[in-house]
């Protein structure tokens, strides 16, 4: 056991999936030619005014409800002032002291333990543009280019309580949070497109202490794994400092993926004074109880509720549950299949195994797949009834995945039905025994494993169509 306790809090930024930007009508589509999705308003030209996109507020309410937050009926926007070329107005419209929502939590499952991670607040703000530097950073570059397509896309910032005690918990919190946001559909949460970003705060303290240590903010965390690795590095670095009797400095540190280290960006003294003040160009946002309830009614069943149901109603192992609910469509596919064939564990094996493999190889989403819950349920039933072997079932599924053909037709066309005819199989069994005297000898000498080889030989001779159970029985009978 380490003598230090790690304290972690996370700030997550998620882009909302609105069609238009937070304060103008410009499109939010990703990947357009630079500076084609801009207008006087998001470019911050002299004289323009922001007009709040109500859909963005509604998405933010939805996210907040899904994260068990209290919606603040009266909230307002503020200006966060700082100079940077990707910020056309030189201020970001954000929410400072009256955010949209407060006091939520996320339930995480780590190492068989369940834990609630508190959410301090959620607020709405606008996205900045994107800078491309000819060198490493803006000061070391000959020139920099600015793309304002992203400027003004709505974001929610989700600030957690310092409730996480290990990098693994931080990782679990992030995956759960992402999952919840994806379930509600308010955000794509694509880290590779920058629609989900995370900054981490970490400090350590001697076990048993109730005072927080000096915290360090970590930036440039481009994946959930990066968050975990950076936190792991940082908790060791801080522990070393304390062991040597040195102090942790309050500062922002940059994670370098290639070296696997963090390095200092700026200390607290150099930190920006954002000169927040209420945005005079917007009126306060008043959210009625009716509005909140309307959004609440629309919420889908959330991952945690599914988790509880899958574990307790279906009796699925936690490992299977985590995997299946990590994707809302997959969870729905699973449930639809179970409804047609009530054997949750077998369905889960197929969904997590063969189906996931086929989807990965083809790059398809489960909703695009030709294999529907009906097809999968039918394939499992065919195995169950002994019509086809497990091996043949994989072939049927793959064929149906490619062509969309009916499983029964595939079995017929390909002659995949198992040979359960004893007379026919006895002939093959006799041939195999004759051809493999050594294995027969081994088996008779007590090497039970040799029977497996012989079964395999029969399967080979029948091109996999023999009913393995029956073959096993016949072999044992002959060799006794």
């Amino acid at each position: 056991m380490s003598k230090y306790e790690t304290i972690i809090g996370l700030e997550v930024h998620a882009e909302l999936r609105t069609k238009s930007k937070l304060f103008c009508d410009c499109s939010t589509t990703f990947g357009a030619e630079p500076n084609t999705q801009v207008c006087p308003i998001c470019l911050g030209l002299p004289g323009v005014l922001p007009v709040l996109n109500k859909q963005a507020v509604e998405y933010a309410i939805e996210a907040a409800l899904a994260l068990n937050c209290e919606i603040q009926p009266y909230n307002k926007f503020d200006r966060k002032n700082y100079f940077y070329p990707d910020l056309p107005k030189a201020y970001q419209i954000s929410q400072y002291d009256l955010p949209l929502a407060r006091n939520g939590y996320v339930t995480i499952h780590v190492d068989g333990k369940t834990k609630k991670i508190g959410i301090t607040r959620i607020h709405l703000e606008e996205e900045a543009g994107k800078s491309v530097h000819s060198g490493d950073n803006i000061l070391g570059s000959e020139y920099s280019l600015e793309d304002y397509n992203r400027t003004g896309i709505p974001l929610i910032e989700i600030v957690s309580e310092p409730d996480m005690r290990s990098p693994a918990e931080a990782y679990a919190y992030l995956t759960t949070l992402k999952n919840i946001l994806q379930y509600t559909g308010v955000s794509d949460c694509k880290m590779e497109e920058g629609s989900l970003r995370c900054d981490a705060n970490i400090s350590i303290r001697p076990v048993g202490s109730d005072k927080f240590g000096t915290k360090v903010e970590l930036k440039n965390l481009n994946s959930f794994r990066a968050v975990q690795k950076a936190l792991e590095y940082e908790e060791k670095r801080q522990a070393k400092l304390l062991d040597r009797g040195e102090k942790v400095i309050q500062e922002t540190r940059h994670w370098d993926e290639s070296t696997g280290r963090t390095h200092s960006m700026r200390s607290k003294e150099e930190a920006n004074d954002y000169r927040y003040f209420p945005e005079p160009d917007l009126v306060p946002v008043v959210i009625s109880t009716e509005w909140i309830e309307k959004v609440r009614e629309r919420l889908p069943e959330l991952p945690e509720a599914k988790w509880q149901r899958f574990v307790h109603e279906y009796g699925l192992p936690e490992y299977d549950t985590e995997l299946i609910i990590s994707n809302r469509d997959m969870a729905e596919f699973f449930e639809a299949t179970v409804k047609l064939h009530n054997d949750p564990k077998t369905v889960s094996n197929w969904v997590m195994g063969e189906l996931t493999r086929l989807l990965k190889e083809s790059g398809q989403a489960i909703t695009e797949s030709k294999v529907t819950p009906e097809v999968l349920a039918r394939v499992i039933k065919l195995v169950d009834k002994g019509t086809i072997s497990n091996t043949a079932a994989k072939t049927v599924l793959e064929e149906s995945f490619k062509t969309g053909k009916d499983p029964d037709d595939i079995v017929k066309e390909k002659g995949l039905a198992q040979i359960s005819d004893t007379a026919e199989l006895e002939k093959v069994v006799a041939e195999v025994i004759a051809a493999n005297p050594q294995s027969v000898e081994d088996f008779r000498n007590g090497k039970d494993r040799a029977i497996g080889f012989l079964v395999g030989q029969v399967m080979k001779a029948t091109k996999g169509r023999a009913n393995p159970k029956l073959v096993n029985e016949l072999l044992r009978k002959k060799l006794q």
């Binding site: 030209l45 002299p46 005014l49 200006r79 030189a90 803006i138 600015e146 927040y276 005079p280």
Partner: protein, 495 residues
Amino acid sequence: MSLYQYTAHELRDMLRRKEVSAAEITDSVLERIDSLDSVIKAYVTVTAEVAKSMAKAVDAQLAQGSDLPELAGIPMGLKDNLNTKGIRTTCSSKMLENYISPYDSTVYEKLIKSMSPLLGKLNMDEFAMGSSTENSAFFNTANPWDLERVPGGSSGGSAAAVAADEAIFTLGSDTGGSIRQPAAFCGVVGLKPTYGRVSRYGLVAFASSLDQIGPITKDVTDAALVLTAIAGHDPMDSTSVNKEVPDYTKFLKEDVKGLKIGLPKEYFVEGIDPEVKTKVMETVQKLEEAGAEVKEISLPHTDAALATYYIIAPAEASSNLARYDGVRYGYRSETAPDVLTMYKKTRSEGFGPEVKRRIMLGTYALSSGYYDAYYLKAQKVRTLIVQDFQKAFEEVDVIVSSTTPTPAFKMGDKIDDPMSMYLSDMFTLPANMAAIPAISVPCGYTEAGLPVGFQIMGPAFGEGTILHVAYAVEKLTGARERRPKLPEKGGAACE
């Protein structure tokens, strides 16, 4: 009498009676600008072709016999902080000297719909900061009543143009008195509407919670006419109020019987010019004789208004003007080796001293550690000022005062003394703080022949009431009858 000398409502009637054409009106005013503006220097940009083509369109429509909007064919000018597509919008700043806007402000859009020809863009204090138009980065504008005096500010060009008949009407913007103070100095009518009555979309922001656009006109009827055309809710401005716009000319009548007029004792104190005070009191007496009830009232937080204003307005300005960083448009210092130096040099070189002074004031007021003591406290005092007025309007229909403590001062007199310059707005800025409408109307002249402005403040959305009282003042004092003596040809006066 030349066409440029008429008011908008007179020209409207003449057009409808087909006594004149829109082209003749516009040409007459353009010729006036041509002959006189080298002396007055009201215009930063003259848009003769834009004006002429609109006048042509009006005449064509008139020939077809179709209905015309009220302001059709009435040529006007816009303060140069109102965005006009394809036309320079400079804010009289080196920072935007060559800036051409890609979009129209809502007020200009409305005036285009009203078919009012645009004569050009008018000089102002840089980014609307100042009270004399001496803060223009380009040139000073002269007061038509005395060319050595300032026209007031920040809408000095807008007021001087109307006084000198270089426009039939103009629009200005008013953050602490920038419409009313120059209107008072130039002997014309200037109206600052209720905050939210007119869309601010396309007005280059100075202090967003105080800015309003309003008309500067030759008489009160024109003010009512123009306000009716530009007021109303705008989906592009969230702070514009969704409230029906009445025909404001319907409020105009001479009868003031039974009207309750409040005289705030805090507005008649030491420092107010005795001649100005006399003219204002004479006007009050005339109103009383005409049947109005006059009573003394108190607005106890008046003395805190100036200090409060000079926290809130610069704070908002420091943020609003941060976008002029040389990155995307406007002036950029080309000699900077890196982005940080570029910001510093661009803003040091592009802004004038008054703008820089206010940006520094505002940045300081918002800084961490000072925010509570300055900005937050100022907001609380602002609430007290609002309550002062709300209480007062429970007792009276309008509140009157002089618009300014003194008549127009000489150029150069106050430019090096910011505090005394700031004091010239002490009677006008409370209306901005309280978000209420206020109008300045000429009520008489000093011995030296300088106009004196009479200010009427009303409750929120009480534009009709203040126009009513202003109309009575105009009739009772006859101050509108006197016009500045200006040469027909500008060049001659200079010799």
